[in-house]
Symmetry: none
Subunit: 225 residues, 4 copies
Amino acid sequence: MTVPHRADARHNRARVLAAAQAAFAEQGRAVPLDVIAGRAGVGAGTVYRHFPSKESLLSAVMSERIERLVAEIGALTGDSADPGATFFAAFERSVEQVVLNKALCESMASGEQVRVEPGVRERYLAALEPLLSHAQEAGAVRADVALHDVMTLIAGCATMRAAGGAVGTSVVMDGLKAATAVTKRNETRCVECGDPVPPAGTGRPARYCGNACRQRAHRRRHASG
Amino acid sequence: MTVPHRADARHNRARVLAAAQAAFAEQGRAVPLDVIAGRAGVGAGTVYRHFPSKESLLSAVMSERIERLVAEIGALTGDSADPGATFFAAFERSVEQVVLNKALCESMASGEQVRVEPGVRERYLAALEPLLSHAQEAGAVRADVALHDVMTLIAGCATMRAAGGAVGTSVVMDGLKAATAVTKRNETRCVECGDPVPPAGTGRPARYCGNACRQRAHRRRHASG
Amino acid sequence: MTVPHRADARHNRARVLAAAQAAFAEQGRAVPLDVIAGRAGVGAGTVYRHFPSKESLLSAVMSERIERLVAEIGALTGDSADPGATFFAAFERSVEQVVLNKALCESMASGEQVRVEPGVRERYLAALEPLLSHAQEAGAVRADVALHDVMTLIAGCATMRAAGGAVGTSVVMDGLKAATAVTKRNETRCVECGDPVPPAGTGRPARYCGNACRQRAHRRRHASG
Amino acid sequence: MTVPHRADARHNRARVLAAAQAAFAEQGRAVPLDVIAGRAGVGAGTVYRHFPSKESLLSAVMSERIERLVAEIGALTGDSADPGATFFAAFERSVEQVVLNKALCESMASGEQVRVEPGVRERYLAALEPLLSHAQEAGAVRADVALHDVMTLIAGCATMRAAGGAVGTSVVMDGLKAATAVTKRNETRCVECGDPVPPAGTGRPARYCGNACRQRAHRRRHASG
DNA sequence: GATGAATGAGAATTCATTCAT
DNA sequence: GATGAATGAATTCTCATTCAT
């Protein structure tokens, strides 16, 4: 049902999605549905045919944005000459996407989870995770930062940009590069949840705090939908 | 009109303000005016007598919060033994105030200027400015950060906290220090203010740089609202 | 909250209730709320101030009707010279109330419980119950009929009347008496309450058993709502 | 247009009719047309090709139900050993058909004539009429009940059943059997409309109140569609 | 001054009906 | 002929603001 078979319907769905993306980006979540319909050049009923509620339209827009981001990040992943640069490029692209979207900023600032279609969040995290861990292994990023923290840092940087700040992102990126400041010496943290990893006497330091997180990361890597 | 002469009116104005503060903080800008009036135990008309519009009520609430913050910062200013610690303490207090207020977070994330009464913004900036410049002179904060940038950094940190991030503020604070000196190896830093902790020869490494920070962290842990 | 203190509000509430009663009665449950508001000469918001939803307005209307019915039945209860006549009078008044209200008919025919305010149904049943049991003790009504059955018989008679049937109620009432005694030949019965009419030696046979029924039928003929 | 020539179209028409019957029966008249189309496995347009409006679809469904009932009643008619039993069997079958159909109950309770295709009502009445008059002649049914009254009694019994009443129909049937209670002695009523028939001094008592009803009954006897 | 009632302009959502594919 | 997409009027409910009491 997501994508209709008929060409004209597919066309209209795309127009609605584009109009909604623009309207949400400019006016935020509170933009009336009629405005979106008007911008798309369709009736309100048509919007509802494609998306059963305003909420689901918002989530479709968000999902589409994030999928695009996943694709961009995927393109970056290959070039791993400089893991730090690659990670920070992905970070910046993410911030930019969020900034462009007022509705997304509002959602994040409200402390609500941004609602997206199933699997989208997982795919995004799966795309970002190797970039983060490679950068951390290369010493380009603080080791005590978990994937989840990166998400909130992105949200914060977006707010800064929305608030008109120029240096915000660079400050955060500097903070990410700083050698493990607050973290206790030699402590390692789970790259999934950020909890401390019990030190193992020998061998390579553990990346996860336990099986639960290892499994979760694994699932995400293979998540499809 | 700002503050009425009659005692009962003054009393009502204060009750409305308190109710509005709580309501905006908990439910955000979209909270209906009737809810605020109800919480204040007055009629909707009374709210309008004191504040000509919902917008102006919001701005009064914001102004009152910020004035309180200005007072807190003013209290810190005296103790200038460690300019870096003083600045970061003010920074954190500011972040906390913002985080407590959903309406404020929303406003900042929307990229709109938070509307406050005339002079309030100026007084806040005037309170923060000496702290920033002293900290910069002492080399505790990057010199290329302007007062205006600090404001957006505060907004960003609030968003991170609202989004559930734990390390956001510490990353930003590290970033603010970063240009000065990359953290020395083996050095431990105060988990409250990020300053270096004098190495103790024996026992468990200290978590705080001194009693002030220990106490501050304690208070925060038991803060109620 | 049910009844406001201010006189004008009480007045408006009554107007809304009256308008809703009329609108539901004439057009059924599906009548738009705007129509009710218009008939009451108030804005839609005023309707919602007094009744939080259309559903609750309907239930208030129903409850008010039924309370009126309870009062009428209460007035009948005193006159217990003829328990059968008293019961059947209450029965007929109930049918008439239901018939006047299209919304009520619809609800009953849908097999849904008619929603009324708490206690109303109970009061109605409490008013009807002694009438039924006295009539049964006097042998005027079949002993195998429960109070609940009477309710559905009322609903059925209302539908018959709504469908334009003239004899429906008398058939049902005969059925209720049937087990006791098959009507005697040559006997005439009151067209209002179904009781036997004392035979008059001369002239046109009497249609009513007495002045009470004649008057009641007259009133009904000129009832307005 | 009623029945298409092409086999697939005829097939679709039947599917729509069956789906509509089920949907109306379960959910009442307010069931959305898309739901009906969905249950039939066709598009909304197809429904409109076969039935020009929702109203006409409803009427087609009703007509089809009633035609089926006519057939059942026709089967009963032959066995005239016990005219009373035959009539009451037809009565009960009719009630059951109505109860099964929420839309039909709603229509009847609204006091609106149930809209059926031309001739259908007439055929139904024509099937029921001889059963009623034979039962009346045999003294098994009150003589003062007209065909039209039987229709409303059926509607009433259906409402009682929908309202959960168990004894409703039996009470009505008892009422129908009771010897001519309310009717004035020797009075005859038109078997078509139920109005009193002016007494003729001589010959067989008139069955109709006038030429209009005689003609109407005649037409019904020979109605074809 | 306080109250809370009234207003009425939206906002989301549904659905019978039409029409391009 | 069939399909299902598009339409847009209608409906319920909300809420900032005004105003009579």
